[in-house]
Structures are given as structure tokens and as C-alpha cells.
Amino acid sequence: MNIVIAQSDVATAYGWGLDALWNGLLSGKTAIRPTERFAERGFLSNQVAMIPGLEVEKGESRAMAMLRRLLPRGVGKIDPSTPLILATTVGEIEYIERAILNGRPDLAADARPQVLLRRVKRLLGLNGPGLVYSSACASSAAAVTRAASMIRRGEAKKVLVVTCDAVSEFVYSGFSTLLSLCEEPARPFDAQRSGLTLGEAAAWALLSSDDALDSNSAASILGWGNTTDAVHMTAPDRNAVGLSRAIAKACAMAGRSAGEVSFIAAHGTATRYSDAMELLAFSGAITEPKPIFSLKGGVGHTLAATGLVQLLVAGRAMSHGLVPATVGLLTPDPSAVEWAHDAPVPLGRAPLALSTNSGFGGVNTAILLGGGAQS
């Protein structure tokens, strides 16, 4: 049985829909902008990648505002009993901010992830099982692997994965405190990279077994691996052992060798250590350089959402035969030469994609993607 991404949609700083994201990446222009939102706070950076035209209703969270507009565009037609997995790191964190800044402690409980899960189920009229899945910045990638497992073991024919994380003062202040933010738009895999830019995104994907497919799909989930470094709470393992094991597990599950990978959708945060760790893992698994790309110079680091957004772009790359450039890349890091590119790279036939994510707590997820299927 093949497990495919049957339907999907996404909202990023490039706009609403995968076309906007794809065209934005191909344009080579970043959607990261300076913001006045935190001007009085004195943070390390004023750069941010926020979704344009997002209308937030009074009392609503940005995460819910994203989902309220994004989900009904396509999800509304699915079977109400479809299992839902919601992937987020901080979800509706504004309720904590409001509780403390406005002296309204009663609001804090609304920041719990299962509250957002209930809101999403209500929005979509879903009455099936619902799960919150969180694994730091690998959350949505890990959620996709769980959905694929549920389908493979016959628990469900289709599983809906929804992911979101918004830019908030809470998160921005935290990354500023950790000295992780770049003063200019992030430049993944660049020799002069100096940190990440925060972004926000929401996305959903309906995973399906190919025998239950009712539309064409762009990508199949062939294998995956989830691991932990067990080295440091925020920094990656400089020896890349955890990510290397995740890649090996994904390849083993798929029955493919890493050398067959045609291109890589990398996490690529643009922090010095994380990018170096990824490149070490890639060069250890795949001896001959393959094109890699990171979305984060274009749409920032979208936290929990980044894994699923990468998968959707990787699917588009396979169907269009083109690997997008890494936006913001000027001079590749010496270890990224021949891997990271400042212009799109054409793909051969029957490509095989690897998508990787890593996050706080040393988590790593690797997913191997193949071409899609026809209904």
C-alpha cells in the first residue's frame, strides 16, 4: 500500500496557497520584512515573515485566524469521522500573553493545545479521533509519520494533519534571549549566516492510502525515522548522529539507499550549528552532492509547521521537475558548496526526495518522499 498526500493547502508569508509559496520561492525574493510590532521591546532583530492579509478577530489568536481562513478552503468536503492530528509547538500562546499582560489569569487555560484541537474539530465539523502531536520544530513532520503509520496499520484510510504556529511576542522574545535571531533576513547554508528569522505558517494535508485516493497526488510517503540526539536542550549534536540515524531509518523503511535521493528539503534554520549539523549528516549519508533547499530565507522559521510546508514544496518540486533555490543564499558555506544553490536546479525523472527537520530537545525527523499516484 502506498501512502500519499492526497490534498493539501498552505499559508505562508508569501501568501495563501501552494502556488503563492512556490512562485515566491522561484522569484528568489524573500517574504521576510522589518516589523514595527515589537519596536519598543529592543529585541535583537526586527525581521519577521508574517502572513499577509491575516484578519484576526477580537479575542482570537493568530493561529486560529490562520486556520479559520485556510481550512474551509478545501478540508470541508472530507468525511467527518476522519482522524485529525494537530501539530503545534505553542499553539494559541497569545492567551498566555493576554492573561499576564491584562491581568486576566482565566484566559491562560485557553492556551492549552487541546483547546485548539477542539476548535479545529468544531470548525471542520469533525467527530472522529483527535490528537495533538508535538515534537518541537519537527512537530508537523512527526505528525505526518504518525498519520502514515495509522494508515499503514489499517486504523484509518485517511488522516488529516493540520499544523500552525504564529509569530508572537512570547516566542520572539525567547529566541531573542537565546541570541538566535539574525538582524537581516536569514541566509540558510550561507558562509555568512548568523541566525534565524521567525515566520508563521499554517498548513494541512490529507494523507490517504492510494486505494482510497479520490484525486491525483503529488507525493508518496515511503519511509521515515524519528530520533533524539540526547546531547543538549537547544543545540544540535555537532556530530549529527541523531539526524544521521533518522535518515538511515527512513531509507531502511523505504527499502531505498540514501544514495538514490535526488534532492533534499532541509530544515536549514540559518543558525551556524544547525546548518553545519545537517550538512554533516547529508554528506555522511550521501557521498555525491545533491541539491538541497531551505525555505527559511523566504518564509522564515515557521516552527511546528515547517516540516509539512517542506513536504508540500518537495511534492511540488517533484511534479515540476525543479528544486527551488535557497532564498537569501549569496556565498555557500564551504561545506554547502555543490549542495545549496542560489538558482533552481532541474530534476531528472522519478525523483526521490528526503525532507529533514530538527528541533529543541534534540529531536530529528527524516521522511523519504516518492512521486505521487493517480486516482
Partner: protein, 212 residues
């Protein structure tokens, strides 16, 4: 199958092993001490920095791991899963309250790093060298049985040789050791009780061990 369930709360800790050696004892104080470090059984560099919930979880996971014998096999890949109705709500409030109180310009990194639902797992993984998946999995209807089931599925899928499934709050932590195989019915019934708070379950398991 759930091979053992360990618990740690302020008053008592122990482990229930169906058909095996179960025990329970008064708990040492959670502050850094030789007694706590002996219970954990591994070097801990940052114990004093950890949140109370992280300390409960680390102690419960250490007791659970000691009851499994997993360490005796070569390089077992052990993963971590956790659930909890509040996620990391208390840690989130602590970070942001402190950030506001300090002038709303610079937060504290050592508070910010606990603001993810999986932060607790990161600490446990580092101290106990656990390299399998680390996941927060919260089911909206029956969170505790679902946590155990998902941990079992991760083992069945070959993602880990075993899983530690943690159920915790600011009062207590429970840690189930999960392997492939069928469940003990008595344990399954306990996990499905309406009041399945970590403190309540710790008391239930303490009573079960006393009866054994």
C-alpha cells in the same frame, strides 16, 4: 505491553511490575542531593535548573528504566512519549510572567527552554541517554490509554525497541515502560479510570504494591 509502571511524587515513589519485583519507598526531597542522584543513577549536570515537573519525570523515568533490564541489551533505542492535559502551561506562564516583570525586553533562556510540551522529554533523554523518538501525544478524549497505545505502536512500527511513556503534572509523574506485546488487564483498567491524574494513579499503584 506495559512491562512496568513507576511513579514519583513528593511523598512516595516506586514501581509496579506485573509478575515481577514491585516496590515502593518514601521519596527523598526533590532538591539536589546525593540521595536523588543515587536514585537517578547517572550524572546530571543541570538538575538544579530543571522545573519541578522535569525532576518528577526524570526520577520516575529512572526508576522505570531500572525495572526493565533494557540497559543490559546492546544499544537499545528507547524513545519517550508524554501527555498531559495542561501541556507546558505552567512553564509558559512562568517564562512570560518573568519576562514581563523584568521589563519586557529580555527573557530568561533557562525558563524559555521549558516552554515546549516536549521540553521535559529533552532533559530526560539527555540524562538517561535515550535516543528514540521524543513526542508529546495528547488524545482529546482518553489521553492516558491513548498515550500507552501510541507508545506501543511506535515500538510495533520498529521506531524504538522500547518506549517510556510519561504522564505528569506539578504534583507527580508516572512512567510506563512499553514493549511489544499484550497488556496486563489490571493495568489497562487502572489507566482507563475517569480520575487518572498522576497523583491519583501514584496512590493507586502504591496501594497495589503494598497489597502485593
Amino acid at each position: 505491553m506495559i512491562r512496568a509502571i513507576a511513579w514519583f511524587c513528593a511523598d512516595h515513589h516506586g514501581v509496579f511490575v506485573p509478575g515481577g519485583r514491585s516496590w515502593q519507598k518514601p521519596s527523598p526531597a526533590l532538591s539536589p542531593s546525593a540521595e536523588i542522584l543515587a536514585l537517578i543513577g547517572r550524572p546530571v549536570n543541570y538538575y538544579a535548573r530543571m522545573t519541578i515537573e522535569s525532576r518528577f519525570c526524570l526520577c520516575a523515568a529512572s526508576v522505570a528504566l531500572g525495572a526493565t533490564g533494557w540497559r543490559e541489551s546492546a544499544n537499545p533505542e528507547i524513545g519517550l512519549a508524554c501527555a498531559g492535559s495542561d501541556g507546558c502551561l505552567a512553564a509558559n506562564q512562568e517564562y512570560f510572567r518573568d519576562y514581563v516583570a523584568c521589563g519586557r525586553a529580555l527573557g530568561r533562556g533557562n525558563l524559555f527552554i521549558y516552554t515546549l510540551p516536549t521540553s521535559v522529554l529533552g532533559e530526560v533523554a539527555i540524562v538517561l541517554s535515550l535516543t528514540g523518538p521524543s513526542l508529546f501525544i495528547h488524545d482529546d478524549v482518553r489521553p492516558l490509554p491513548a498515550l500507552a497505545r501510541h507508545a506501543q505502536q511506535l515500538v510495533a512500527d520498529g521506531e524504538a525497541d522500547g518506549m517510556l511513556a510519561l504522564w505528569s503534572d506539578s504534583q507527580a509523574a508516572l512512567c510506563m515502560t512499553v514493549e511489544a506485546g499484550d497488556d496486563d488487564k489490571a493495568i489497562s483498567a487502572l489507566l482507563s479510570k475517569p480520575d487518572s491524574s498522576p497523583s491519583r494513579l501514584a496512590r493507586d499503584f502504591q496501594l497495589m504494591v503494598q497489597q502485593v
